[in-house]
C-alpha cells in the first residue's frame, strides 16, 4: 500500500481519564503513525491498558481528544464509528475468544458481521488467517478450551486480523508465552505488519520485543508520556524510571562483576 509514513493514524491529545475517583491518565499526548510498530511500556498499574481501552472506546474519558484516521471519535456518528471499528483489530491479553464458538467461527465472526462475502470465501479467508498466524487448518473445528495458551493467542491474533485492519492493538501479546514462542510471536507480528503495512500499537513488558520489532517506543508514567522515540532515545534518557527499566538488570550484573 502506498502510504505516507509520517501521517499520524491515531492522535491522542491531552487525554485525562479517571477510574473509580483516581486520576489514571493526566494529560497524555501521543501520536501513532501509519505503518509503524509502537511499543508502549510503563510500570504495572501506570495505565497502559487504560489508555488502550480508552482509545478503543471501552472506557470513558474526562478530557482530551482522540482522533483515529483523522476522525474525532467524540464527533463520530454511529455509522462512522462502526466504519472505524472495522478498520482496527484488537488482541486482548487473555485472547478473549468466544468460548462457545469454534476457532473457525471465532475468526469468521467479524467477517460475517461486517462483510457480505460468500460462505466459501469466508471459510477460506479464516483458514488463510489461521495459517498466516502459524496454525494448522485442523484447529478450525476445535473449541478454544481445547487449545493451549500460545494457540489461543494465535487464534485471537487471527481474529484481530480477520478484516485486514489498518491498526492492530496488542495488549501484552507475549505475556504468558515461553521465550521461544514469544520470539516467534514477535517475528510473526513483524512479518504480518510488513506484509500489510498496518500500524501496530503494542502494550508490552518484553524488552526483547521492544528491541527486535518496535520502530518507536513510548513510556507512560505519572499519568503522562515520559518519553517517546526510538530505542536509542530510551537508552539515553535521564529519567530515573527509564534508566531503571532499560539499564536495570544489566547494570546490576555489571556492578556485581566489577565488585568481584
Amino acid at each position: 500500500m502506498a502510504v505516507d509514513r509520517k501521517a499520524p493514524i491515531i492522535e491522542v491529545h491531552d487525554l485525562v481519564v479517571d477510574l473509580k475517583g483516581h486520576r489514571i491518565l493526566n494529560g497524555v499526548t501521543l501520536d501513532v503513525y501509519r505503518g509503524e510498530i509502537l511499543g508502549f511500556v510503563g510500570a504495572s498499574g501506570a495505565g497502559k491498558s487504560v489508555l488502550t481501552r480508552t482509545i478503543v472506546g471501552l472506557l470513558p474519558k474526562q478530557k482530551g481528544r482522540i482522533d483515529v484516521f483523522g476522525v474525532d471519535l467524540d464527533h463520530a456518528g454511529e455509522v462512522q464509528r462502526q466504519e472505524i471499528e472495522r478498520r482496527w483489530g484488537i488482541l486482548f491479553q487473555q485472547g478473549a475468544l468466544f468460548s462457545s464458538l469454534t476457532v473457525g467461527e471465532n475468526v469468521e465472526f467479524p467477517i460475517r458481521e461486517y462483510l457480505d462475502v460468500s460462505d466459501k470465501l469466508m471459510t477460506e479467508i479464516a483458514i488463510t488467517k489461521l495459517e498466516m498466524v502459524g496454525l494448522k487448518p485442523d484447529v478450525y473445528r476445535k473449541y478454544p478450551s481445547e487449545l493451549s495458551g500460545g494457540m489461543i493467542k494465535r487464534v485471537a491474533l487471527a481474529r484481530a486480523l480477520a478484516l485486514d485492519p489498518e491498526i492492530l492493538f496488542l495488549d501484552e501479546p507475549t505475556s504468558g508465552l515461553d521465550p521461544i514462542s514469544a520470539g516467534d510471536f514477535d517475528q510473526l507480528i513483524l512479518t504480518l505488519q510488513r506484509t500489510s503495512a498496518m500500524a501496530v500499537f503494542m502494550v508490552t513488558h518484553d524488552l526483547d520485543s521492544l528491541h527486535t520489532i518496535c520502530d518507536r517506543i513510548a513510556v507512560l508514567g505519572e499519568g503522562k508520556i515520559l518519553e517517546a522515540g526510538t530505542m536509542d532515545t530510551m537508552l539515553k534518557s535521564q529519567h530515573p524510571w527509564l534508566k531503571a527499566y532499560f539499564h536495570g538488570a544489566r547494570a546490576r550484573v555489571l556492578h556485581a562483576v566489577a565488585k568481584n
Binding site: A2, S99, T123, K129, M132
Partner: protein, 377 residues
C-alpha cells in the same frame, strides 16, 4: 480508495492474460468474487496469466481471490502465472501462497432416524450418569462428614457460617414475602369457594394443613433451588473453569470437604429454618385474609387452627426440609463440578441444576407423602 475492480481477458497466442486493477480489499471482496468467476469461466486456453500491475490496494482478501483462481487453474492441469507483482505485495502473496487450506471434511451427518435414536440413547445414559454422580457425591459427602467428625478441627466453620448467611439469613425477606402471599392466596381462594357451601370456617383447616404439610416446604425449596442452588452451581463452575478446584486438589485438599460440605451443611440448616419461618408467614397471610376478606376474627382463626392441625402435621413438613436441602445442594454441586471450559456450558449446567433440583424435590415430596400415609402420620 477507488472502487474499480475488473478482470478483463486478452488472448496472446496460447496465453490468456487477465488484468486486475483497483482495490482488491475486504471492502470490495463480495463484489470481486463473482467478477473473478465470470472472467475465468469461458476461458479455454491452456495457460493463464494474471497481471496485477494495476492493483492499487491489496489485502489478504484480494490476494486470496487471485491465489484461488491460480490454484483452481493448476488443479485443472493448466498453467497459471502471476505477472507484474509489485515488491510491496510480494510478502502478502508469499504468505497467502504458503497456506495449504487442507481442511478435513466435516464429520458426516447420520440420517435422522439414527440421530433420534442416538439422542434418546445419549439422554438415557446421561440420566444413568447423573444418578451415578449423585450417589458418588453423596458418598464423598458422607466420607467427608465422617472425617470432619473424627477431626473436628478440619471443619470449615467460618465458611459454613458465611454460606449460612448467604443462603439463610439473606433469603429471609424474600421467603417471608412470598409465603405471606401464598398463604393469603390460599385463604382467599378457599373462602371464595367454601362460602358457596357455607363452609367458610373450613378454610382454616385447609390453609393450616396445606401450608404446614406441603406448600410451606415446597415453596421454600423451589425458592432455595432457584436462589442458592443456582449460585452454588455457578460458583463451583467458575472455580472449575479457572482451575481453582484443581489447585485445591494439588495442595492436598479435598474439594468436597473444603467447598461442598460447608455449602451443603449451610443449606441443611437453612432450609428447615426458612421452612419454619415461611410456614408461619403463610399462616399469618392466611389469617389476615380470613379476617379482612372472610370476616373470621383472629381469635376464631387461632382456636380453629389449634383443633385442625396437630403437632404431627407440623412435623411432617419440617422433617422433609433437610432431605430436600440435601438434594438441592448435591445436585447443585454435582452440576457445578461438571462445567466445561466455555461460558455456554456454565449457563447450561446452572439451568440443569435448577431444573433437576426442583424436579427431584417434587419427586421426593411424593415419596414422603406415600411414606407418611403408610405410617399413618
Amino acid at each position: 480508495m477507488t472502487a474499480g475492480i475488473l478482470l478483463s481477458g486478452q488472448t496472446r497466442g496460447d496465453w490468456v492474460e487477465l488484468s486486475a486493477a483497483g482495490s482488491w480489499t475486504a471492502e470490495y471482496a463480495s463484489a470481486i468474487e463473482p467478477q473473478v468467476e465470470t472472467a475465468t469461466r469461458g476461458i479455454t486456453a491452456r495457460a493463464i496469466a494474471i497481471n496485477i500491475n494495476r492493483i492499487e490496494y491489496l489485502d489478504t482478501y484480494g490476494a486470496w481471490l487471485i491465489e484461488r483462481t491460480m490454484r483452481q487453474w493448476a488443479t485443472e492441469g493448466r498453467e497459471a502465472r502471476l505477472v507484474g507483482l509489485r515488491e510491496d505485495f510480494r510478502g502478502l502473496f508469499e504468505k497467502v501462497h504458503a497456506g495449504t487450506q487442507t481442511l478435513s471434511a466435516p464429520p458426516p451427518r447420520p440420517n435422522s432416524i439414527v440421530a433420534t435414536l442416538v439422542s434418546v440413547g445419549m439422554t438415557m445414559s446421561a440420566v444413568a450418569a447423573d444418578l451415578y454422580l449423585f450417589v458418588q457425591m453423596l458418598g464423598s459427602l458422607i466420607a467427608a462428614f465422617g472425617r470432619v467428625i473424627l477431626h473436628p478441627t478440619s471443619f470449615r466453620f467460618t465458611s459454613t457460617v458465611h454460606q449460612l448467611e448467604r443462603v439463610g439469613w439473606r433469603a429471609v425477606p424474600i421467603i417471608l414475602l412470598i409465603t405471606v402471599l401464598i398463604g393469603a392466596i390460599l385463604a382467599q381462594q378457599g373462602i371464595f369457594h367454601f362460602r358457596k357451601f357455607g363452609a367458610d370456617i373450613y378454610v382454616i383447616d385447609m390453609v393450616g394443613v396445606l401450608v404446614l404439610r406441603e406448600v410451606g416446604v415446597l415453596i421454600v425449596c423451589i425458592m432455595v433451588a432457584g436462589r442458592s442452588g443456582s449460585s452454588y452451581t455457578a460458583e463451583l463452575g467458575a472455580m472449575r473453569m479457572r482451575e481453582e478446584v484443581d489447585a485445591l486438589r494439588t495442595m492436598g485438599f479435598d474439594p468436597v470437604e473444603v467447598l461442598i460440605l460447608p455449602r451443603i451443611i449451610a443449606l441443611v440448616i437453612a432450609v428447615p429454618t426458612l421452612t419454619f419461618l415461611g410456614s408461619m408467614a403463610a399462616l399469618y397471610g392466611g389469617g389476615l385474609v380470613a379476617w379482612l376478606y372472610g370476616g373470621i376474627a383472629p381469635e376464631v382463626f387461632l382456636t380453629r387452627l389449634r383443633e385442625a392441625v396437630t403437632i404431627n402435621t407440623f412435623e411432617v413438613g419440617l422433617i422433609k426440609a433437610p432431605f430436600m436441602a440435601l438434594v438441592i445442594g448435591v445436585v447443585a454441586c454435582v452440576e457445578g463440578l461438571q462445567v466445561q471450559g466455555s461460558a455456554e456450558s456454565l449457563g447450561e449446567q446452572t439451568t440443569n441444576s435448577v431444573v433437576k433440583s426442583i424436579f427431584l424435590v417434587i419427586v421426593l415430596d411424593g415419596i414422603f407423602a406415600m411414606f407418611f400415609a403408610s405410617i399413618g402420620m
